[in-house]
Symmetry: C2
Subunit: 215 residues, 2 copies
DNA sequence: CCTTAACTTGAACATTTGTTCAAGTTAAGC
DNA sequence: GCTTAACTTGAACAAATGTTCAAGTTAAGG
């Protein structure tokens, strides 16, 4: 059950290009299948088929189903965190830290990445699964909470009158709304509103959240 | 795969009290286990153990895992829908339909039910699983969309300038925030804010959403 | 109080699942 | 160009899972 990365010490040889390509294929396939079916609904064999690799390879590169899930979530988390922190840094150096701009620094990168590479859309659905299942709270804590903490701090400075509790609540609402916009195209379609992810939608989301924070 | 209720015609005998009690136990157990583990993570045997019944009984009353899941989600949906519509009716008859009051009519009943009966907390986690997995969009459409439609209509009347798209987006954000407050105690705790579900929290959520709608 | 539909019970079954493993292949490090 | 760590492959395995079923029990309808 303990899912920390193995120490990775004792490696005597660099992985070959072929091996790296295989590992990439495995992670991409895992991301797709986990996003489609969740952890329990996904099977190693389906991931293997998606990757075009034999089952043994999935275990070799993934280290078991649990570890593979963890790796899949963690892989893109760093990119996302960096983009968010860079965006925040940009806001800071511009000197006009409005609530809208700070929230946009947190929210926009996910959409920007999604529009450039559809695999980020799969990743968003995967994150939605993580966020709803308390089994993965350690993964959330590891992959997302540190950056969340930075933004909560920043928002606190902008809203000195609000209690920490209010800020955290608003932040959690904002994150869940963001995931809803990233993943709920179907649902909105069913409610009679065809929503595509253009910049207008994201602006609307940011303003929605900012207005909420200011109660 | 087709999951409509069987016509239920041809029933020649009313179920006994014992049978009704068993069915209740089965549904309660299913609700708990599905809420803890999701559809794929749950097993018939674990539900059976939770209910204190043999496996065969779960199938007899549930009609298979898929049908049992459907029944479990649908069971409380009607109560919830009624409470919401009643609350809306109350707002209407009071004659002061503010956005806050209409949103509260949608949001509060879930919390009121949860505070009276902890099984509604399990149900909230179950609904969160449903909302995140596109496999269950038909269940959502059947159990929740009709009432959602009524509230969207009502909100549209209060915000005549907003487009349908904006209303639906705001509504989806509000629902996801509501589910977050119902289910994310852990997550907020991890972010350093111990949140309990008193009336203040719910007021805050309602004001958050209302402010967002008004952009 | 009968009749019998409805319910209860748990063993049995066919699949599917995650994982292991041993034999073969590739290419990194020297 | 050797050596051998690292990778690849797919067969095999034990455990778990959803479902079926046949025999026994309960109680509704008359």
């Amino acid at each position: 059950m303990s899912e920390m990365q193995p120490p990775e010490t004792e490696r005597k040889r660099a992985p070959s290009k072929r091996a790296l390509a295989t590992k990439l294929r495995v992670l991409d396939a895992a991301e797709k299948v986990f996003a489609d079916r969740g952890f329990d609904g996904a099977t190693i064999r389906e991931i293997a088929a998606e990757a075009g690799e034999p089952v043994g390879t999935i275990h070799h590169h993934g280290g078991g189903k649990n570890a593979l899930f963890h790796k899949t979530v963690a892989r893109r988390a760093e990119t996302l965190s960096c983009d968010r922190l860079n965006a925040l840094q940009q806001v800071r150096s511009d000197g006009d830290q409005t609530l809208e701009r700070v929230l946009a620094a947190f929210i926009r990168p996910f959409f920007d990445l999604s529009s450039k590479d559809p695999r980020w859309r799969d990743y968003a659905r995967l994150v939605a699964f993580v966020s709803v299942d308390s089994r993965w709270k350690n993964i959330s804590a590891e992959c997302f909470d540190p950056v969340a903490e930075v933004f909560i701090e920043e928002i606190s400075n902008l809203l000195p009158k609000a209690s920490r509790k209010q800020i955290v609540e608003g932040f959690v609402y904002s994150v869940s709304a963001m995931l809803a916009l990233l993943t709920s195209q179907n649902r909105m379609g069913a409610l009679g509103a065809q929503v595509d992810l253009d910049s207008t939608r994201i602006d609307h989301l940011v303003r929605f959240c900012a207005a909420g924070f200011r109660v």
